[in-house]
């Protein structure tokens, strides 16, 4: 029943939403790349991860994308020797977040590209609808 072109736009819009959530997570990771623990020897900021999931929209009869979960990266923290740091443990080592700037930048690029792809779909669907309604104007 639903117009496929409007459905395409709606689905692409869900993609935009998902990718902006992804960028949000990347920005959290980048901003907290140097956030250490509050207490000496404690754990610093743990890198967040995001996973996506296909979601069947019953009204639309098509699969949209949704954010499945925002989890944490369980990999090891970086250790640096800095006894003067407020968060340093007894042995003088400070735990730094397991955030890698390179990985975050790659993730950001991917989010941007996916966002652009979804934008292109919306643009294309809009053009197709416009061209079709233009048929009624002429002649």
């Amino acid at each position: 029943m639903f117009d496929p072109l409007s459905a395409a736009m709606s689905i692409a819009s869900s993609g935009l939403k998902a990718q902006s959530q992804r960028l949000r997570v990347v920005s959290e990771n980048v901003a907290n790349a140097n956030s250490t623990a509050q207490v000496p020897g404690g754990d610093p900021y743990r890198r967040k991860t995001i996973t996506f999931d296909a979601e069947l929209d019953r009204a639309l009869g098509a699969s949209k994308v949704q954010v499945k979960s925002i989890g944490v990266d369980k990999s090891d923290f970086k250790l640096i020797h800095d006894p003067s740091h407020p968060a340093a443990a007894e042995d003088g080592y400070v735990k730094l977040p397991n955030v890698s700037a390179l990985v975050e930048m790659a993730d950001m690029r991917e989010a941007t590209r996916s966002y652009e792809a979804n934008l292109n779909i919306i643009d294309q669907a809009r053009k197709m609808v416009m061209r079709t309604t233009d048929l009624m104007r002429r002649g």
């Binding site: 709606s10 819009s13 939403k17 309604t133 009624m136 104007r137």
Partner: protein, 110 residues
Amino acid sequence: MAAVGFVGQAAKLYEEAKTFGTGVTNGPAKVMEPSKADAAEFSNFVENMVSQSVGTLRQAESVSAAGISGKASAQQVAEGVMAAELTLQSAVAIRDKLVSAYQEIMRMPV
């Protein structure tokens, strides 16, 4: 809603014009004559279309307002406004087509 009334009236007049014509011509015209139910269906269709597009426009308006106050995301605003734009475009195109069909009948030499 003035537009609905106008189009409904146009449909009725159109139907009247058709039945008026059948009195003069015999044969094939009878086949083309629309029944009353057809005309009602047609004006219902137009009415539904218009009220649906008004609904979409209202939605776009409320989403835009929510977007300005920061309660809706840019994507939601763009989606709503674009849906309204496309609905309005097609509603206007269909209306133009209907009106021009009506005018075509009006210009017909009797």
